[in-house]
Symmetry: C2
Subunit: 338 residues, 2 copies
């Protein structure tokens, strides 16, 4: 305990909000040059895009996806991964396969649910994280191209992910299956476990929800502390929560299948969580970690210095990116098959 | 990856510092009432106390210690712990013993190094964290009342801690010894491991550095992002770094025995780290975590929602406090003796 606090405690607490003056954040020097560049990027003005219909979101998503697609050939080439479209029990997927599958991963299978606030990264644009996992980890990955508005609303994305999960379990056996995803994909990973419990399906061997949108009711302290600090999501009143409201389509946002931090996590498989100190969802990642630990689940937390939302997968050439996927690989290696 | 970032990436990075407007932080509702009260406490004006001599610091420390001492009888009573002064090879210590030592902790011994920026909490005032560990964990604890300025400067605190560590290892055997502490005590815990390596001493079974002052060169992104957000340390230009400069007494602050994040952590024992999302030392906790993981060390990170520096030990009646010491106990149980 420090002097200031000890004295402050005696002055008596109030419920007055803490006032934080304007500040200037230098680009940190204790991260790689690649991540310095990611951190130095000003927030895009598009964080204020608050579309209100599925059709508007799809138009925005398609425009953005066209740009993402341009980057994928280089990513696949650098990481020696091939991507092929397929369908599994009627659900669109991409089979993401590294040139070299590790011998110890021969019987393992990962299911990937992409991020994008339940609205963005349709089609192949949603495969970049799956490519990194396949390439860095030498795993076979199935990336779910789940339906998004206006094609389907809640719980369409979750239903599609469950269809693929069932098929993966049937093919590889639950203990050899891992599930992962970031942001909305992190939330979907958690929602899949809640849904699997409801349906009496077996748990996978391990999961890796990255900076999950675990609470879409605007609760979580870093929505405030990291507002305008996170250069990706930027604000709790930004595009991401607006997109989720459209996906929810009138459904209660407190439902654990939309805000999984409110779900019962007893019986969840071993879980590795990844976030950054500037992440708008830092709180909603650590709250899931604590909730898992309270439920007796083996749960590992990784927090990267100075990173905003999901920046551990923004540049595949950064050592931190290699490290983040290396941690997930080591965690899957420790837990899958057991 | 989110829409805003994907667009921002294309706009080209700059090295302009990010500008964060003034903001108001509501007291979070997703923590216990006790921790809400701790969080709602305004920063004490004493954060600007920048004494420049050991004598000035000791005067301030004594005044503060007198207040801390008033709280200790109640703490000891609630947690069923007794505290007795002693000396070990000339070093002042407190033997901190719970009424009930767990049967499985019969052969275990913990060494505690208190916090306070290397200047505060002299004498019995430094025992509160040791009382919590003994009471919540049912461990026997030796709390080191290491010399502080003006009695001794760097590396006096570390030398005293090492003397007690040697004695503990001799008594219990290294693998049955755990070392823990918070803030400067977290830094000292890490510095002790670096020093033990230099001296060829065996590593303990496990360590628990809480929110360590791992970098006193003002490096670490949360020195900026959590400035005026953390209501304990408040600012990188506050009392704590000023105190450390006096302790360092002209010694290079980059020395890993003052800034252990710069040390070689290969061969460190299993480590559990604890911090909070509002902690000014959040970055300097997660940087140690990452560095340990890079060195192949088993390292577990716990980050508590909305807590500023060391607030996981501010109120022994808060469920989060119980949880924080419960995690450390479980970690020691897993690793001590192996």
């Amino acid at each position: 305990m420090m002097a200031a606090a000890a004295t402050a405690q005696q002055s008596g607490a109030t419920n007055t909000p803490e006032q934080v003056p304007a500040k200037s954040l230098p680009v940190p020097t204790d991260v790689s040059p690649q991540i310095q560049k990611v951190i130095a990027t000003p927030p895009a003005t598009t964080w204020k895009d608050l579309w209100t219909t599925g059709e508007q979101w799809r138009t925005a998503a398609d425009a953005q996806a066209a740009k993402t697609l341009q980057k994928l050939p280089g990513l696949r080439e650098r990481l020696h991964v091939k991507v092929e479209p397929a369908t599994i029990d009627g659900v669109r997927v991409y089979m993401v396969t590294p040139d070299v599958v590790s011998p110890e991963h021969k019987d393992k299978l990962l299911v990937h649910v992409h991020g994008g606030c339940y609205e963005l990264f349709p089609g192949e644009a949603g495969t970049s994280e799956a490519i990194m996992m396949a390439g860095f980890g030498h795993f076979r990955v199935i990336s779910v191209d789940y339906r998004m508005p206006p094609e389907a609303y809640f719980p369409g994305a979750l239903d599609d992910a469950m269809t693929v999960y069932r098929a993966a379990v049937k093919q590889a056996g639950a203990k050899d299956v891992g599930v992962f995803g970031t942001s909305a994909g992190g939330a979907l990973t958690l929602e899949m476990m809640l849904r699997a419990k409801q349906l009496g399906l077996p748990m996978p061997g391990a999961i890796a929800p990255g900076t999950p949108m675990s609470d879409v009711t605007k609760t979580g302290d870093s929505f405030y502390t990291n507002e305008m600090v996170d250069n990706v999501l930027v604000s709790r009143d930004g595009f991401c929560d607006a997109a989720t409201v459209v996906y929810a389509h009138g459904h209660d946002l407190h439902d654990p299948l939309l805000s999984p931090v409110y779900g019962d996590m007893h019986g969840f498989p071993p879980t590795i969580l990844t976030t950054g100190t500037r992440d708008l969802l830092l709180s909603n990642t650590v709250r899931v970690h604590r909730k898992l630990r309270e439920a007796g689940v083996e749960a590992q937390l990784e927090v990267f210095e100075a990173m905003s939302h999901a920046q551990y997968e923004m540049d595949d050439t950064a050592p931190e990116t290699h490290e983040a996927f290396g941690e997930i690989t080591a965690f899957f290696d420790k837990h899958l098959g057991h």
